[in-house]
Symmetry: C2
Subunit: 676 residues, 2 copies
């Protein structure tokens, strides 16, 4: 009885408050629609999708990846959607020779299979490697460089440890993996090994697989080391789509995002003998991991040989695209995507999210079958080759860029999904919209709202800025399309990009009942339905302005710390505030909006892009050149300051001020077109 009351109360709590973009009357209708949509996603179906899609290793370019795409295609069609596979071609190198030796020691470079996990002995697993590493055969002493970020090299220099001509050994963590060999090469190293230290990703965190969820002795994190700070997608077709039989394509030499030195990921089992053989000064305390040895800077006494070759294959990339045409605004698109390729089986990364997308699509399909039609066009996308460098989504964005710039209202993205709190990154104008979605969504474990769970971790509600790491990059950073990245996660486990990211692992250690998979499908369905049905596109600019002002105040403080006088941006931010308030005043009495509302986001693009990397055009945030996935807000100014380029910082601030004025003007224009 008590329970029932609590549930009723909870249910009531989820149906309260206004919905951005809807009148009170329309909101009531919308809630009825959402109730129908939210009733569809089914945990058992998500489990079945995972079983089907994660049953075999299905790295991009492989026949198995094509099979997964075809499975998704058939599921989407069965759900009643128009769906197709759109194939591109891209440079997806697979490894050939891999050898790492030191004296008599030969590194294992493979992950053992365990009886507890049948998938660990699957055929056709891609060996452990870093995609887009250079070929090479080098022999040199090893130096330990901690996480391999620029400050680590500064420390080594102070200690008199020279990395030039050496192989560096970096541990995973703190920076994205592709940044490590890049910085290593900048410092004169001739090769880079990256290992998972048990302190960050192993027994220090808990029992290791298969006893527990954490990375085992010979577990390896595969992954791309494409230089994604320049651009993402196929390295041979920057800025344009690499379609099958397409004539245009760079040579390997012309490509700008290939790593110039050999790079290989290794396990802590393989790293231990190298670290044990180190001499030189003891590493500082915060450099030391959890291996049972004294961590030293090196160099090691015995030279290490690293030999790597790759096949540099051009391979097919199969995106699956499904559409429900909008009945009122067919040329306004609401998109939701998740990649389907994996490094190996990828039950967690990405199938936990991919499976949820199929259920979101089915929810709309079920309504479609009853005759319901969305007002705006709804697009579902399952991307291929995300792991190699967001290749499938980027090629697609590049192919349809003019159309997307015209039509895309917002792009929703998910990736890995698990037990836990909803993680959110978003462009600033979606702040209020997302708070309402979280407010109206139910956390399956607590029965409380998703929002309240989020507020336990961070107050106030504030989605993070978007950096990199999944398929929203092309949309947001290249296309200036409003974007969201979401997924539930408790952040446990250490099977990332290994053969142990399997159904068996996921079932035991993550969302084994698939209730968070269902919750993600529901959050996504609600988001898309509100975006597609709103009378006025539910962007909100006062919070956006406040968010951008916060970012600016950080940059401004950084400039003050570095004694750099920046031009006045506050006046532009004041104009933005005024425009946002003006929009709200109009919105209060408006009945409907126009496409100008979502086109405001395009005004945030930098006409010339970021310094040295024109592909990245979004002014509010970008992946950091030396953090990788981590977002840098107002990156043009911030990174110029960080890198000590004062004149460039000043110039970028001037450009940013202009962008903000453009944004304010676009908001004013959108406000003026709101209809009473």
């Amino acid at each position: 009885m008590k329970l029932t009351l609590a549930l009723l109360f909870a249910a009531a709590a989820f149906a309260q408050g206004p919905i951005r973009g809807f009148s009170e009357e329309a909101a009531a209708k919308q809630r009825a629609l959402e109730a129908k949509l939210l009733a569809v996603p089914d945990a058992r179906r998500i489990e079945a999708h995972m079983k089907a899609m994660a049953s075999e290793p299905h790295h991009a370019g492989s026949p198995a990846s094509r099979k997964v795409a075809e499975y998704a295609l058939s599921q989407l069609r069965a759900a009643g959607l128009e769906a197709k596979i759109e194939t591109f071609e891209a440079l997806l190198p697979y490894p050939k020779d891999r050898l790492l030796t030191m004296g008599k020691f030969t590194a294992r470079l493979s992950e053992p299979n365990f009886a507890e996990d049948p998938d660990s002995s699957d055929k056709n697993q891609l060996p452990t490697y870093n995609a887009y590493s250079a070929d090479g055969d080098v022999t040199a002493p090893v130096v330990y460089v901690n996480y391999g970020v620029p400050e680590d090299y500064e420390y080594l220099k102070k200690q008199g440890v020279d990395v030039r001509g050496k192989i560096v050994l970096a541990r995973y963590g703190q920076s994205w993996r592709g940044v490590k060999p890049k910085v290593a090469a900048e410092n004169g190293a001739i090769a880079c090994l990256i290992y998972s230290d048990p302190k960050d990703d192993g027994y220090f965190r808990g029992d290791v697989y298969p006893a527990g969820a954490y990375r085992c002795e010979y577990g390896v994190q595969r992954g791309s080391v494409m230089d994604m700070s320049i651009h993402v997608g196929d390295p041979l077709s920057p800025g344009f789509a690499s379609e099958p039989g397409g004539a245009k394509r760079l040579t390997l030499k012309e490509a700008k995002t290939l790593m110039p030195i050999p790079v290989m990921p290794i396990s802590y089992g393989d790293a231990k003998p190298l670290l044990e053989a180190m001499t030189g000064p003891l590493a500082p305390e915060n450099w030391r991991g959890a291996l049972p040895i004294p961590y030293k800077l090196g160099p090691g006494t015995t030279p290490v040989r690293l030999k790597l070759t790759h096949d540099w294959g051009i391979r097919p990339v199969h995106n699956v695209i499904a559409t429900i045409r909008g009945s009122v605004y067919p040329d306004e698109w609401v998109l939701y995507g998740n990649h389907h390729d994996a490094w190996v089986n990828g039950a967690n990364d990405p199938i936990s999210g991919t499976a949820a997308v199929l259920e979101t699509a089915r929810a709309f399909g079920e309504l479609y079958k009853t005759g319901w039609r969305p007002q705006r066009t709804i697009v579902f996308a399952l991307w291929d080759a995300e792991e190699f460098g967001l290749v499938g989504s980027t090629e697609w964005v590049e192919k349809y860029l003019p159309e997307l710039k015209d039509k895309a209202v917002a792009y929703f993205n998910s990736d890995t999904n698990g037990k836990g709190v909803l993680g959110l990154g978003a462009t600033p104008s979606l702040n209020l919209f997302l708070e309402q979605v979280a407010r109206d969504s139910k956390d399956p474990a607590s029965g409380d709202s998703v929002l309240n769970q989020m507020l336990k971790v961070q107050r106030p509600f504030q989605p993070g800025p978007l950096g990199s790491g999944s398929d929203y990059v092309g949309f947001v950073h290249h296309g200036g399309i409003a974007g969201v990245n979401f997924g539930f996660s408790g952040g446990t486990g250490g099977v990332y990009h290994s053969i142990y990211d399997s159904f068996a692992w996921y079932k035991r250690f993550s969302d084994g009942e698939f209730v968070y998979g269902k919750a993600l499908a529901q959050v996504a369905a609600m988001s898309m339905a509100r975006m597609s049905e709103a009378a006025i596109i539910p962007f909100e600019f006062t919070r956006a302005a406040a968010t951008i002002r916060t970012y600016w105040s950080e940059v401004d403080k950084l400039a003050a710390d570095k004694n750099v006088g920046l031009p006045n941006v506050l006046a532009s931010l004041d104009k933005l505030d005024a425009a946002a308030r003006q929009f709200e005043a109009q919105y209060a009495t408006a009945k409907s909006g126009t496409r100008e509302v979502y086109l405001t986001e395009r005004a945030l693009l930098l006409p010339e892009g970021l310094p040295g990397r024109p592909w990245y055009k979004y002014s509010v945030s970008a992946p950091g050149q030396y953090t990788g996935y981590g977002a840098k807000t107002i990156a043009g100014v911030r990174e110029s300051l960080e890198l000590g380029q004062r004149a460039q910082a000043v110039a970028q601030a001037r450009i940013f001020a202009q962008v903000i004025e453009n944004y304010a003007a676009a908001i004013n224009a959108a406000a003026a077109k709101l209809k009473r």
Copy 2:
């Protein structure tokens, strides 16, 4: 040439500034005397002493300990001093049975010998054990309790992990070892194992012995677990001397400082299987050490058996006492001591310091041979059975207490000595005196003054309060005698209380050239000479008052944090300030002082001692009941607050205010007696 100039400059720097207690004229004479004294100590002789005294295991009560005492006796006599051995008797239990098993695993409980270190295979090594552990044979699951301090048990309670009826496994560090089983027993544990985690004391710190200086896999820290918070010295003769054939002696049952549960120290090699067998929640991150396992709270699944018996032997304790009678003030004594007993060979602990004492004594002996006589009586003491619980020094203090209270001007103490900066703990009135000694002493590595080296680590100059851990305890905390504990140390290495604390280790990893041994002998010689020759005993009270006021302000803040209203002590501290200033005014024109100056220190004694432990009478600082060696300043008030005993805190504050007024009155009396 440059070097010579630098040395001249350095030498000049060391002969500047006034010397407390000496007129300008007398200071010049004193510097000439000191130059002669400081020329005597010889690094090669210190090395020879270490070779002789650390050649065999010489734990207290053993024939080898007697031999070391006899060696010291012969050296002191050869130096021209009157010297004798004073023998006491005390409870010094040796281990009999030691067994630790878990299923098929039997702990090694012994330290391997290494070809690189001949002493590691010496005969007659005392096995690894904790002296004054209870006998017992218990079998129970093990719980991991981190450092085993009270907060650790609070955390376990919150996690629902019950230690009652369990064996706890604590790691060395943070609290003194004897506190760990005491807190364990208070929490209902039936036995306690203490291990050296490699994070704190092993490979995490650097290469392990014999490759490097740090504790190896099966290295063990022996040590006493006497409950020294109650009293130190022989457990069977609290407050009185335990002389051979003495009739008075408590039974084992009556003794208050024996540990009620079995306790045993183990290596990280032996601890690893126990920790690996743990289940239960993962330990929080700051509980995790550097073993290659996930640290869990436990309990372990397989019960562990610990069997311990001891012989409870009453054994002889041989102090070596040497004297040079004062020519002007024979009844004013300046003392300097260091223990000579060790857990095994003890090259570092204590012989590195003991050997230096012999050179300090020889310096005075050489002058004595020329006909020089000190004004005050100089006493050198080499104590026995320090390791068991400061037994030799404490029995001696208890035997001579009335005489010491009357005659002791100051007690200087050293213990382990090594490369590095001078560490200093002292009673507050010696602050200025010690700064001048450090100013006028040369650091052998840098050629700069010892003071400047100290100021690189901590500014301003401020000796720490005295807690426990060496033989000054009886003098300061029981006798109210001004005290100093000093020694050079770089704090490297991990052979503490193991068989690897050997000449070979010391030669390779510590002060292998014995220049810091020589420097300690010089610092001690200068200190004693100034104390023995000063026209006015060189105490200074304005700094003492400031130091005590700082301690009080900390206690006062603690009281405020705990919402306890304390009586007014500031008025008393103001009186102390006034007295200190009045003393300085008199001192400025005084020509000589009287014994009232050093007797001021007695005024700082608490008539009833500290709550629950009347043996400890010094009001300014005391070893903490739950820290062990670590000093608690104004312990009567501070610990009452920490333990939530509000009424007692108020009562203790009242008593402390009275003590401070007594101290001020004693200073006023001393000032009044200064002679022009």
